[in-house]
C-alpha cells in the first residue's frame, strides 16, 4: 500500500473495462466513426497518488487542430461519468497511422475512407513515398493521387481509375 501512495497505479480490471467503455464512445471530431481507442492515441490510464485519474493522450499530427478538441472531449466524457480526470501529453513513442486498430481500419473502409497501408517502417521510406491505396468503393488498386493534402490533415485525396470516383485516403504517416 505504501507504494501506492507515491506512484501512479493501474486501475483494477473492472474499472479499466468501464473506462474503456466510456472512451469507446468518444469519437474523433472529424471522422466520427473512429473512437479515440480505434485511433490508438490513449496511451495510459492510471490512478495518481492524489487519487485523480490520469489519461495519457498522444497527439496525432502536430498540426491537427482536432488534437485539443479530442483531449477536451476525452476529459469531458470521463468527468461526466464521475471521474476526476486529468490529461497528460504523451509524445514518445510518436503516434503514427500504424497505431490505428484493426477495428478502426475496418470502420474507415466501411465509412468510405481508404485505411492507411500497413507499417510506416523507416522514415526514409516516407521520403520516397508512394503508398498505393485501394479504392474503398470498388477495391481497384489502380488509383491516382490528386492531392497530398485533403479535407483534414490526416487525409490525402485520390481518384479511382476504375470507377473514377474520388476518395479520401487516411495518410500512411
Amino acid at each position: 500500500m505504501s507504494a501506492h501512495a507515491t506512484r501512479a497505479t493501474a486501475p483494477p480490471p473492472e474499472l479499466l473495462a468501464r473506462l474503456h467503455g466510456i472512451l469507446a464512445q468518444v469519437a474523433d471530431p472529424e471522422i466520427p466513426v473512429l473512437s479515440v481507442l480505434d485511433l490508438g492515441i490513449i496511451r495510459h490510464l492510471e490512478i495518481r497518488p492524489d487519487g485523480r485519474l490520469e489519461v495519457g493522450v498522444a497527439p496525432t499530427y502536430s498540426g491537427c487542430p482536432a488534437n485539443a478538441v479530442i483531449k477536451a472531449d476525452v476529459l469531458r466524457a470521463l468527468r461526466a461519468a464521475g471521474f476526476d480526470a486529468v490529461a497528460a501529453d504523451v509524445l514518445a513513442p510518436p503516434w503514427s497511422s500504424d497505431w490505428l486498430s484493426d477495428e478502426g481500419r475496418r470502420k474507415l473502409l466501411a465509412y468510405g475512407i481508404a485505411p492507411p497501408s500497413r507499417a510506416v517502417g523507416s522514415v526514409r521510406r516516407l521520403w520516397r513515398g508512394d503508398v498505393p491505396a485501394a479504392c474503398p468503393r470498388c477495391g481497384s488498386t489502380t488509383t491516382t493521387l490528386q492531392s497530398e493534402f485533403g479535407s483534414t490533415p490526416c487525409k490525402a485525396l485520390y481518384r479511382c481509375d476504375a470507377c473514377l470516383e474520388p476518395f479520401d485516403y487516411f495518410k500512411c504517416l
Binding site: 509524445l91 510518436p94 510506416v120 522514415v123 521520403w127 497530398e148
Partner: protein
C-alpha cells in the same frame, strides 16, 4: 542563456517564422489543393514550434511560454534561419524555399531523434515523419515546375539562384551548435550537409535544374542578425497581441 535553451529556441523560431510565411498563402494559392497543402504544412510546423517553445521555456526556467516567445520578442531576439524569413513572392519561390528547408529538416529530425535530450528526441521522432511528407510534396512540385513548361522552368531556376545563397547558413556550426552537440543534446549543423546534398541533387536532377555553385556569403539569422524581411513579418504577426496584450479567442 544556456546553449541548450538557445539551441531549441532556434529550432522553434525557424519553424514559427516559416509557418507564418506559409500562412500568408491561405486564400491566395494558385489552386485549392495547394492552398490546403501549404496551410497544412504551416500547421504542422506551427504544432512542432509549440512543442519546441514549451521545451525551450522549461530549459530556460523563467516561466516564458509560447505566447511570450512568439509575440513579445523583437527581431534581434529571434534566432531563425535567414532562409525561412524570405518572402513568398510567387509559388516557385515558395516551393524552392520549402524544398531546401524540408530536405534540411528531414535530415535534422532524423539525427535529433537519437539525441540525449529525451523531449527534443521525441519531438524530432514525431516531426521526422511529417518532414518526410512535406518533402514529398515540395520535391514533387519542384520536379513539376522544373521539368514543366519553359516558363515554369525559367521561373523556378531563377528562384533557386536567388534562394541558394541562404543555404550556406544551414550548415555552419557556431558555439551554440558545438556546445549542444558536445553534450549530445543537439547535432552539429555541418553533419547534416551530406544527407541534404544527396536529396537535393537527386531532386534537382529530376527537375532538370543545375545545382548552383556553393554559396559562400554568410547569413546570421540564427545569431539574431536578419535580412530586412523579418521585421515586417513580426510586425504583422505581433500587432494584435501588442495592441491587446493577453488577447485570446
Amino acid at each position: 542563456m544556456t546553449a541548450r535553451f538557445r539551441y531549441v529556441l532556434r529550432l522553434a523560431d525557424t519553424n514559427l517564422v516559416l509557418a507564418q510565411r506559409l500562412g500568408e498563402w491561405v486564400g491566395h494559392a494558385p489552386a485549392l489543393e495547394e492552398d490546403l497543402g501549404l496551410a497544412n504544412v504551416s500547421l504542422d510546423l506551427l504544432g512542432q514550434a509549440r512543442l519546441l517553445f514549451a521545451h525551450a521555456g522549461a530549459l530556460e526556467g523563467r516561466g516564458r511560454g509560447e505566447d511570450e516567445f512568439a509575440y513579445l520578442r523583437e527581431e534581434s531576439e529571434y534566432f531563425n534561419l535567414t532562409l525561412v524569413e524570405q518572402p513568398n513572392t510567387d509559388f516557385g519561390d515558395t516551393i524552392v524555399r520549402q524544398f531546401l528547408f524540408d530536405a534540411w529538416q528531414a535530415a535534422l529530425y532524423e539525427s535529433l531523434a537519437a539525441c540525449r535530450d529525451a523531449t527534443l528526441a521525441a519531438i524530432a521522432a514525431k516531426g521526422a515523419r511529417e518532414a518526410a511528407y512535406h518533402l514529398r510534396y515540395s520535391a514533387g512540385w519542384l520536379v513539376r515546375l522544373g521539368d514543366g513548361t519553359p516558363e515554369s522552368h525559367a521561373r523556378v531556376e531563377h528562384s533557386l539562384a536567388k534562394l541558394w545563397p541562404f543555404t550556406h547558413e544551414l550548415f555552419v556550426d557556431d558555439d551554440i551548435d558545438r556546445a549542444a552537440a558536445s553534450e549530445g543534446m543537439g547535432v552539429l549543423a555541418s553533419t547534416l550537409e551530406p544527407a541534404w546534398s544527396v536529396r537535393v541533387d537527386r531532386t534537382l536532377g529530376s527537375a532538370r535544374l543545375v545545382r548552383p555553385a556553393p554559396a559562400t556569403f554568410g547569413w546570421y539569422g540564427k545569431q539574431g542578425r536578419h535580412s530586412e524581411h523579418l521585421g515586417y513579418l513580426l510586425a504583422e504577426m505581433q500587432s494584435l497581441h501588442r495592441a491587446h496584450p493577453g488577447a485570446t479567442w
